[in-house]
Every structure is written in structure tokens, then in C-alpha cells.
């Protein structure tokens, strides 16, 4: 939270995308409004994950705080898990803020069809975002251009997440890329839980989606852990903790 720039991908951009969709829609009722408002919330969560992950270790390298972290008793992996969970949680708060502002501005009267199931989907999506954050953090260590990469990934991720436009309505190639992202399954499940008239679901069953989300998120976790162990070993061997 030290750097106020997080409000752009976390709040400003998602809110404005929601606003664009609502303005094009020119109606403050119906399933598209629900999708726009929920989608804005999800984009807020995503934006925070990408932005914060890109700078997670890079920031430490630049400021020389990676060495004390490496000297601490906790492993690098544990530090990154904690940060990723926190980033995802802040992302959820961003999402809620976008949702509340959009709802109150447009008086959209959003109703969730199955609130308990929606909450479960939301929490699991949040955990999957934390796993994505871990993976991105690990991958971005290998480059000193994390900011540029995160900026390059911003729009593709927004499209592939299915937050505003359902995954099944994306072009075919994009759809397959989207299937590899755990949160896309979560967003689809959230849409099913929120709106009984939702007809663009990937699988047609919330629990199948959640199972896919779990498989992918756990895979991300193991890949990220393996990468972080390798990074920690390489840094200790080569003495490159502050090289970026």
C-alpha cells in the first residue's frame, strides 16, 4: 500500500470499464448490468494482483530489502504466499468498492440469486488469484522489466478473465487461453451463482467450475513454489540478491 499507484489498476480502471459497459447498455436493469458491476469488481481484484505481483520481489531488489528477507528465518516462499494473499484480499476490497460505487451511482438494484454459493465462489476465486499472484511474482523475478510485462498483460488478462464478457463469447483462441486461468473458472461460477438466467457458462455446473479452479490454482502453487525455491538457491549461490 506504500505506493498510491495501485488505485489505477485496482479501482480507477475497473470502475471506468464498468461505466463504459453501463453507458453503452443505456439501461440500469437486467442481467447485463449485473455482469458489468460484478465484472468491474473482478477486474479490480485482477488489476491489483497483476500490479502488485509484478513488483513484489523487484521492489525489494531495487531497494535492497531482499537481503534481509533472505536472511530471515522464514523462506522466500512463505513471504510471497503472505504477500499474495494480502494482495488478493486488498483486490477483493477494491472489487467491493467498485461494486458499491457502481451500484449506488446507477441504482442498479443488483440481486444475487444464491448469496451463500456466490460467497463460496468469491472466496475460492480470491484464493486462485493469490495463486496467480504467487506465480507472477516468481516469473517476474527473472526480469527487470516486470512493470512493462504487467502493463502488457493488463488488457489481455481483462479480456481472458471473462469478467465483463463471458469466456464462451470470446474468440476461439482466446477462449482456450482463458481456460488456463484459474480465476476465469471462478468468475464463470460467480456469474452462475449470481444470475439464474446466465446462459454462457463454460460447463453448466458451478461445482465443475470450482473443481477446475482448484486443480489450476494448486498447480500454480506448486509451480510457483518450485520456481521460488530455485530462485532462492540461485540468488544465494550467485550473490545476485540486489541485481535487477
Amino acid at each position: 500500500m506504500h505506493d498510491p499507484q495501485w488505485i489505477i489498476p485496482g479501482i480507477v480502471a475497473p470502475f471506468l470499464f464498468t461505466l463504459v459497459m453501463l453507458m453503452i447498455q443505456q439501461d440500469s436493469d437486467g442481467p447485463l448490468v449485473l455482469r458489468a458491476i460484478l465484472g468491474g469488481g473482478v477486474l479490480g481484484m485482477w488489476g491489483n494482483t497483476i500490479f502488485k505481483s509484478s513488483e513484489s520481489i523487484m521492489y525489494d531488489r531495487r531497494n535492497g530489502t531482499l537481503e534481509p528477507i533472505m536472511a530471515a528465518l522464514a523462506g522466500l516462499n512463505d513471504v510471497i504466499i503472505g504477500r499474495s494473499l494480502w494482495n488478493a484480499l486488498v483486490g477483493m476490497l477494491n472489487g467491493l468498492l467498485v461494486l458499491v460505487v457502481a451500484e449506488s451511482m446507477f441504482d442498479a438494484n443488483v440481486r444475487i440469486a444464491d448469496p451463500p454459493l456466490f460467497l463460496v465462489c468469491l472466496l475460492l476465486t480470491l484464493l486462485s488469484l493469490a495463486a496467480v499472484g504467487m506465480l507472477f511474482s516468481a516469473l517476474f523475478v527473472y526480469t527487470r522489466r516486470g512493470h512493462m510485462l504487467s502493463s502488457m498483460l493488463e488488457y489481455p488478462i481483462y479480456v481472458l478473465s471473462g469478467a465483463l464478457v463471458p469466456v464462451m463469447l470470446l474468440p476461439e483462441a482466446a477462449r482456450y487461453a482463458s481456460f488456463l486461468l484459474a480465476p476465469s473458472w471462478g468468475v464463470d461460477a460467480m456469474n452462475m451463482a449470481a444470475d439464474v438466467t446466465y446462459t454462457h457458462s463454460i460447463t453448466g455446473g458451478v461445482f465443475i467450475n470450482l473443481a477446475m479452479l482448484a486443480i489450476l490454482a494448486v498447480s500454480y502453487y506448486f509451480i510457483a513454489t518450485a520456481l521460488l525455491i530455485k530462485i532462492e538457491r540461485d540468488i544465494r549461490r550467485d550473490g545476485t540478491a540486489v541485481r535487477f
Binding site: Q5, V12, L32, R145, M152, V159, L169, L170
Partner: protein, 274 residues
């Protein structure tokens, strides 16, 4: 009280300082970023921003906001992202890397230095808009058969230049702020709502329409849509000349801003505050 005044230099000195900053800026850009990544960033960002709003337009299905409408708007909007944001970031970057005080101690004034650095971003804006229009034709199937191509090229160059003026103004304010990033991002993101990029300006409330009239992008988008539709310069002179005027106005305004905030930052010792 000391009078605030602008220091004017000879044309030769100005040109030399701007040229030197421009060369350094190009070299610095490609020292820290590989050329392929710089190009990939522009091409990917342009494409996916256009795709996202095209998908939204197609999904919502408002007959007034068609896919070609949104695609052309966003092709122009990419100039704003590439030019405005990058230029506004220049003083910010110098501040964060600790090179702002030496620049201020140099004989050339800050406006010349940053204007020289900004010129490269005009080129980046042109690359971005050209890519956007190519995507419009090749990927999104927008009909350019009637397009007035020379006028379109002129409008794109002018859009990039007018965004430079706005970017320099924000950059000037950024000298005094902890970071100009938020201001530059908000200005460019707000463009997608305010400037007729994704839906007609008439959809906005009156106060927002008034705000929209002060943004060069509004006129750039309107003029581009006209040129794609085959209109001539005689028919589009109003949006084109307002855009040029606003670009020039912001550029001149940024000179004052740079001078004012340069002195204020020196006085208050906030040069390296971030």
C-alpha cells in the same frame, strides 16, 4: 516578491537542447527496454484494448454503438495511452531515479529537456495509432474503402502532438507531486469515458459533456471517424482546428507549469519527494 517570468533562449539553443534530450531519450529507452519488447508492448496493448471494447459492444448490442464505432475510437485512444501517459511519466521517472536535481542544475531549462524527451513519444503514438487502424481493417473488418487516407494521417499526427501538449502539462504538475502517474493514468483512462471513444458524447450528463469539450481526444476521435467515413478537411476543419488549438494551448501552458513548479519545488525542497 520576486517576479515570476519565463526565460526565453535563442532558437538555436532551444533546438540544440531539445535535440540532445531527444537523442538521449531514444538511447535510454532502448538501453533499458529491448526494441522487440517496446514494439510488442505497443502492439499488444493496442490490440487487446480494442478487442476488449469491441467484445463489450458486441455483447451489449446497442445499435448506435457498433463494433466499428468502438474499434475506431479505441484506435485513436491508444495514442492517448502511448503518448500522454509516457510523457507525463518523464519527470516522474527522473525524480524516482534521482536524476532530477542534476537536470535542474544544467544550463538548459527543464521544459526544453522534457520536451526533447517527449518528442520520441510522438513517434510512439504514431506507431500505436497506425497499428490500431491496421487492426481495425485486418482483424475487425472495418470498412476503409471510403476513407480519406491523407487526412487520416494528418489527424493521427496532430492527435499525437496534441496529446504531447496535455502530457507535458501533467508532467509539469508532476514535478511538484509525489508522483504524476496517478494524474496521467486518470487523464488517459477518463478519456475512454469522456471523449466519445466508446459511446457518443451525448450519452454523458451535461457537466461531463462540458469537460469532454476541453479534451483534445474528443475532437481527434470525431475527426478520425469523419475521415474514415470519407469526409474532407473542409468538412472536418472544426474538430481538427480545435484539437490543434487545444494541443498548442496545453503545450504553452506546460511551459508555464514547468517554470512555476520548478521554482516551487526548489523553494520547498520537494524535488526528490516521492
Amino acid at each position: 516578491m520576486k517576479r515570476f517570468r519565463l526565460r526565453f533562449v535563442s532558437r538555436d539553443t532551444f533546438a540544440r537542447n531539445v535535440r540532445a534530450s531527444f537523442s538521449l531519450s531514444v538511447r535510454n529507452t532502448f538501453e533499458t527496454t529491448p526494441k522487440w519488447m517496446w514494439i510488442a508492448h505497443i502492439l499488444l496493448t493496442s490490440f487487446f484494448s480494442m478487442l476488449m471494447f469491441a467484445l463489450i459492444a458486441s455483447y451489449v448490442g446497442n445499435p448506435e454503438v457498433t463494433v466499428p464505432y468502438v474499434v475506431i475510437g479505441n484506435a485513436v485512444q491508444t495514442v492517448s495511452f502511448t503518448t500522454l501517459r509516457s510523457i507525463a511519466e518523464i519527470p516522474n521517472r527522473e525524480k524516482h531515479t534521482g536524476t532530477l536535481p542534476p537536470l535542474m542544475a544544467a544550463p538548459s531549462n527543464l521544459f526544453e529537456v522534457f520536451f526533447g524527451m517527449a518528442l520520441f513519444n510522438i513517434f510512439a503514438g504514431l506507431v500505436s495509432a497506425t497499428a490500431g487502424l491496421m487492426y481495425a481493417v485486418l482483424v475487425f473488418g472495418v470498412d476503409f474503402s471510403a476513407a480519406n487516407v491523407p487526412l487520416l494521417a494528418l489527424i493521427i499526427v496532430m492527435t499525437s502532438m496534441s496529446m504531447t501538449g496535455l502530457g507535458m502539462t501533467i508532467g509539469g504538475v508532476g514535478l511538484h507531486l509525489r508522483t504524476a502517474t496517478i494524474l496521467s493514468n486518470i487523464t488517459s483512462y477518463v478519456g475512454i469515458v469522456l471523449c466519445g471513444v466508446n459511446f457518443p458524447v451525448s450519452y454523458l450528463p451535461q457537466w461531463a459533456q462540458a469537460l469532454s469539450a476541453t479534451h483534445p481526444l474528443t475532437y481527434a476521435v470525431a475527426a478520425t471517424r469523419g475521415a474514415v467515413g470519407g469526409m474532407s478537411l473542409a468538412e472536418l476543419w472544426v474538430p481538427v482546428s480545435i484539437m490543434a488549438f487545444l494541443g498548442l494551448f496545453f503545450l504553452l501552458f506546460s511551459m508555464l507549469f514547468f517554470k512555476y513548479f520548478e521554482e516551487k519545488s526548489k523553494k520547498q525542497g520537494t524535488l526528490e519527494l516521492f
